[in-house]
Symmetry: D3
Subunit: 236 residues, 6 copies
């Protein structure tokens, strides 16, 4: 099985970290192909970055041969709907993966993401997926995405402090980490706080394996119907 894991931003070190986390979660026999677009934003923090990263992401889906499922490794689930129009293979966003898992492990969860500017986009997604009623609160740690790439930063401590506030104020029973770049922190934070801490990259890898294993496909009816061939040619 071959999973196309796309980091929609152009920061190669982050793609590498995501690939590493994905491989750590993958079953034997699952190949992880972690890619990022050649051009676009270096990090995705809010609506503008999201919009500009989508064409590169779609291009990777259109030009990478032979994958069994696609994972969009940005917590905003950037371009998820458009990507689903391009393939009948499962396409999974790491945000939705983590939310759906959390909803089966806890009555309510809180999200701890990076910057406050990203919060509305995540709330928008939760609302749309239907899972807003399961999320106690989307919190920002005010840790910028690229700070997570600097090993010496105190990013993890600030994220941990925000988890502490979620426990004290939100009645959260689980925590969802709101950035692909936090994939390496989940285990440590779960141990520290004594509750499930979910990272979307690893959740998405397992979900993709699950769907591929069952032969499930993205629907071709309605909103995800494939665009006409002439449009695909014109815009690819």
């Amino acid at each position: 099985m071959r999973l196309l894991v796309i980091n929609p931003n152009t920061t190669a070190s982050m793609t590498e970290k995501i690939g590493f986390a994905a491989r750590g979660a993958a079953s034997p026999g699952t190949e992880i192909l972690a890619l990022n677009p050649a051009s676009g934003p270096v990090s995705i923090e809010g609506y503008y970055d999201e919009a500009l990263s989508v064409p590169g992401l779609l291009h990777l889906i259109q030009t990478t041969p032979g994958f069994d499922a696609v994972i969009i490794a940005c917590f905003d689930d950037t371009g998820l709907d458009a990507a689903r129009c391009l393939t009948d293979r499962p396409v999974i966003g790491i945000g939705e993966a983590a939310y759906h898992f959390a909803a089966m492990l806890a009555n309510k969860f809180s999200v701890v993401t990076t910057l406050g500017r990203s919060v509305p986009a995540l709330e928008h997604n939760l609302h749309r997926y239907g899972l807003a009623t399961r999320c106690a609160r989307v919190r920002s740690s005010e840790v910028a995405v690229l700070e997570l790439e600097h090993p010496g930063s105190d990013a993890c401590n600030r994220i941990s402090a925000e988890i502490g506030r979620a426990l004290a104020e939100d009645r959260a029973e689980a925590i969802v980490l709101g950035c692909a770049g936090m994939a390496d922190l989940a285990g440590r934070l779960a141990a520290e706080h004594g509750l499930p801490v979910l990272d979307g990259v690893t959740c998405a890898v397992k979900l993709a394996e699950a769907m591929v294993g069952l032969g499930l496909k993205t629907s071709r009816l309605g909103g995800y119907a494939p665009p006409p061939v002439q449009k695909l040619r014109a815009t690819a």
Copy 2:
């Protein structure tokens, strides 16, 4: 990995069919232990059956050693919350498994279940999980659960006809089959109608494998906190 798959009703042929479907979905190395309570309702069709099957189900969880996750193989997700209080292992209902998968493969799905009397319980679950906004409609085929155990019945045809109505009237992009006893029909109906048709048993097996693979646990905080030891002793 060892998955405890509980059919909460007492119909052994159905437990067998569920076990067969579960094994068909399981990865190599996953052992499926398909059990049903010794006493309780022969089928679960509505609130009363649900309530009476729960103690037997909980007893199986309390007395079966060495499982890595529990699957509740009734589409009502019978006893799901109570079961989660008994173990820190993942506990997955086949209803929620199918709903969460469908929500990642289609914009909207419809459910086709057995009898009309079961519809409110499913609507209740969807509402609670947050996924009611993703479900176009819960439909009943008026096929009783145990009819599904009779190979000569026209159950599959009636279910197929109801799927046809869901396509025509609901703008459904995927179908969720609303009974564990329909596990063997999903492939055929998906091919016939050309859209994803989800069976909860197989979805739950893969979800359980995914969660166990990631070391995820049911939260021990809040609503799923373990009952005090003296209560467990008194009621086991």
Copy 3:
């Protein structure tokens, strides 16, 4: 008129207190039959206790002759849906009774219950009844159910302090007491805080009298349709 008031836990002193409160609220000519199951949990604090108390509760409904309505005297409205399948008489949960009354006396109410572990089950009920939008917040006093049975405890003070917080933080215009064991505290707390404080036991008694007086019955269609006779025989 004869009301079957079931305390679903097995603590006889609590059944007595509930019966006393119910009789205090009943009209002349209303007989209160307060019972509890012979076996099951000693208190209901969360999903597990709920599940295990239901069969005993259903058994009491099936074996007690000649009632005009049933009251389920646990604030979780334990087994409410299943009980409604067993009789065409009105079946009222004390939780729903208090919520519906509060919704007609105030724009918003807050709930003050016992332990935090019970909060998700109450939120779940409110969501399902439709009244979640009317409830400002479900609060826990961290008073255990059986503490309410000890006259010397400071339970009432702690509940009162939580009501104070509901007034200060929630814009609550009324308070619902979230445990059958608090039935004797409502009057005193209402006087102390100057707002309606609702106890579910007394509300349910009056609602039952109201429905019986009007000849209203539980619907026999759809979700509350009676189970087939052979099932009732097999599981009773």
Copy 4:
């Protein structure tokens, strides 16, 4: 106990019918004082009629001495919030009374009201009370309010036909009759269709008796706080 039952329109025959229904439902010892304003609309069919009937209704509350509760006997629950600002006695709308009762007797109910022009106001109320999720559909029979006052009309047949459609199309488990003038039809229609058919007038009488019996009061905090005395004087 003395219940002030206000028909907010000025049609005396309807006030009489409402009074008759209310007395039929009342317990011994409950006095029903059925009044209507001296001036205002002859029937309440939509927002305009509602608005113009409110001052007369409020005036009756302000000038009628010695009541224990108020019932607003128009299915739109005309002026309910304003009336609650005028008294700490319970104030109950017949619409809300029927909705709350229906929600405890059935999983879902449909409303059958008079004219299509009244439907949005009822939907608005249901949405606000929180009970919109419990109502399958608000239907109009296109029977005008005053037709219900003509014994020879085929109003009941048309209402019955609409109930038939609710059963066939809405999965309704109970019916709420959406007009005070239908108070005399509920029993007959329930028998004909074999499901609970609720009339708001009788439900409200029993609810008022229940609340008065428990000593419950309308909250004086927040939205129902009494207006300052000088305002009451100026506008009474």
Copy 5:
């Protein structure tokens, strides 16, 4: 173009201030006719005042000739639905105008109104308009409506302090001022806090101009259908 701007309370100084604000916002060629009823409450603070001001407001609509649109210049949108039954011209409440504008300038907004007693009515409106999910919180400054008429009061400072709390606690991206009497404060508060601060009077004037400019009319179908002529005659 001629806009009928109705202050539903009887405080002439406030009508004047509203007229002044409206004229400041109006395009050249737009005539503002600012009126208030001859009798009724001096300020509108909650449900009771609302109800009593509506007949005067409707009377002004029925007796003022030659307007192109109506603006209801009370933040509760007093009598909005009834007014729409009286004319096919656009009828706009200043509350809805400000909410709809805020929803197109920010992801979430908070409302700062006068007294706490007005909060439930505003929440009710937001819920009904559908925009409750866009409003972070309705806050009260505890500034009474008529304090806003006293130039020497510290009303603006207290409102500003409440905006500060909305920024700190609500993640509000815009503020809606919840009273017609605050029309003169919006510019100053926007500059002070660095975010959009919306006043409903000016928003409504521009919306009315927009709708009239496009020839848009209030629907005559369903809930806003005109009352029968004999009713209009009888109640005018």
Copy 6:
């Protein structure tokens, strides 16, 4: 005042039609600058087209000097959130403009759009704006966007037939036309069916004039905060 009206697809004849409609709605003194991206999809029908048209749309905003507001003239409100990050001027989608206007002219509206594949994206928007509860149904006429450019097609008849069904089945009190290319049909369809028929292009022009007239700006806080300068440089 200068309004930048962007047709996000690349069909110049449609840009022209949109510009013509916009100019027809604009006040004297308002300049309409109607542009489309140089490259991208020829029509926007669903998620894929949407995603690919956004970068061209954002580029036009970044490179066109001197506008007072931006109108996104595609009914999907393509790229709306990202566009708002680029400017403090009002940015208005034609979809939201029409929805907000319809919500002030009718209790409920239905949408009639082009192809079924576009329906989920519109439902998604309505849900997010909060206005889903005001929309009875999103309907597709199965008229493709570019058919609207062919004068001889029977597109208008098919749209009219769908409006007829909305009236008969949805209790719709107003209709929103779900495509920029339908801008020229609104007047005729409103006259034919006797209810408000809203076209988003003209609504958005008037809303933009209204907001600019009031000096209102897009919030710079939270989700619409401007991206850092280095990102804007890198991605422009």
